[in-house]
Amino acid sequence: MSRTHAGAVAAALAILAGSIAAPSLADLPSEAPGRSVTLPEPHPHWMFVGDLLLRRNALLDLDRGTFLGMVSTGFLSPAALFARAGGEFYLPETHYSRGSRGTRTDVVTIYRTRELAPVAEVEIPPKRAVNVLPVGNAAISDDDRFLAVFNMTPATSLSIVDLQQRRFVQEIATPGCSLVYSAGPRRFLMICSNGSLQSVRLDESGREAGVERTRSFFDPELDPVTEKAVRFGSRWLFVSFEGNVHPVETSGDALEFGEPWSLISPDDRADSWKVGGTQHLAIHQATGRLYSLMHQGGNDSHKDPGSEVWIYDLDSRERVQRIRLAHPGLSFMSETVEFGQTWAWPFRGIWPFALDHLVPNPGLNSLQVTQDDEPLLVTGSQIGGSVAVYDALTGELLRRVPTGGMTTHTLQAPWGGGEAQP
């Protein structure tokens, strides 16, 4: 409790003394105002859920279904970055001095996880790419030392932040290549518009130490890979609109492209099954299972919401399970007795109707998997503030958890499995 708080409390008690009786043994003791909760050590079943409309990320306990806290993110800052050590996370933010006008300031805000409070910020060039991608706008080097922020003005570049020294190091121009993914302690990957990858190497001070381009390994016109790549150990998996998986091994000095394989069998393709969603891929590292959000749709449906999650074994490259997704919001039926009773018209009357008639599934836009030994699969719909929680191994629906938000976007479960998620 800060001294100022203490002072005010003292003042309060002093002045209130007149109207407060001398405490007797049975009385509740006076409590100290000014306290804020500090979180325990992060748990693998904690998850950040982003809300782009309310400009916040809510932290949920998926086991107890409770709301642990939130961070205000500012305009379109969908994804935080998490130090593998776990004690901190980082939010690239864009602010204007007068709300929607004035001077633009971009910062990387450094949060201490257990306080959910900013402890420092590093100002970066006001060029941050402003979009809604759940991954690819920033990345942390595998040793937690450097943070790279993708810029688009529309000229593309990377801003390098030294997280140890809490300072901006350098902007690296990356014409023709976009987004950023971590690949080792001193290497970041980018995707180039010609279908190739670019390696950006840093030296020990975080300055550019070399840039190499690979051959192009996909056709950005005919079957582009989505930006929502997933990392499996030292391997990155890029998945295309048509469901082709392009593995890229990053352990060696040079990148190695593995044999592409397909998530969609000819039969499934005949039924027009497609990958898609806002955040449509996740991997459980320990079991090597890939979770893919699937829907039936036509061309250009690569961002349509999913109706099922298909689970693949990354060794055998076989689909081992299909989960038909439940509605993420009906959990509130448990609150219908009170629900909306106190609302002003017209909302009072709508909820009962919604319960009776609105059975169709909204479609799930986002998916995430926790990294512990009892992993949870979580799905969220862009419209509404609730997520559905499944046993990631059996596919059993466990519960639904309210986010307190209006929209559900990026899902992040960085704790557990020994390291933060890419």
């Binding site: 407060i20 509740l28 409590e31 909760v37 932290l59 306080e115 409070a117 009773q341 709508i350 503030g385």
Partner: protein
Amino acid sequence: MWRDDQNAVDRWVARAARDLARRTSRRSFLTRLGVLLVGGATLPLLPVARAEPRAQAAGEPDPNTPLGDPKDCEYWRYCAIDGFLSSCCGGTHNACPPGTEMSMTTWIGTCRNPTDGKDYVISYNDCCGKDLCGRCTCMRHEGDRPVYYATRSNDINWCMGKVGVIYNSTVAVVIGVASDT
């Protein structure tokens, strides 16, 4: 600026202390926005406060093991609250959610603890510095007065001064036993 605030806080507490009133609510405008956010705006996929009267929640003989549900709007301490319950937002009934700061300008009410039958002076402090929590809207307001009668007005956002004006949620802190005199 800070000295000014400190003086303001003292003046404030003095005025509030001279004006203890029962079951008076505050900031219903924020609550209404809250209802919009939590109920209307995101309907029907969002949770909403249990605002209907319930069986009287118990108090706590031992503050460390509270009886009754501090996430329930009917919890005894909330007799004059109006806002989002900190205990639903990552905090507790008397501590703010992580990363928010508790305001020192407050409305003060008097609530009866059903366990010991005593009236306690309750300070309703706002948790500030993060945007609306949006969970567990709790409106129990009577005796609201206009803004010029500040200690009784629920149109005022009590996030003020050092903690900033951005409102997140509200706690209910026991300040002492109300005397009968």
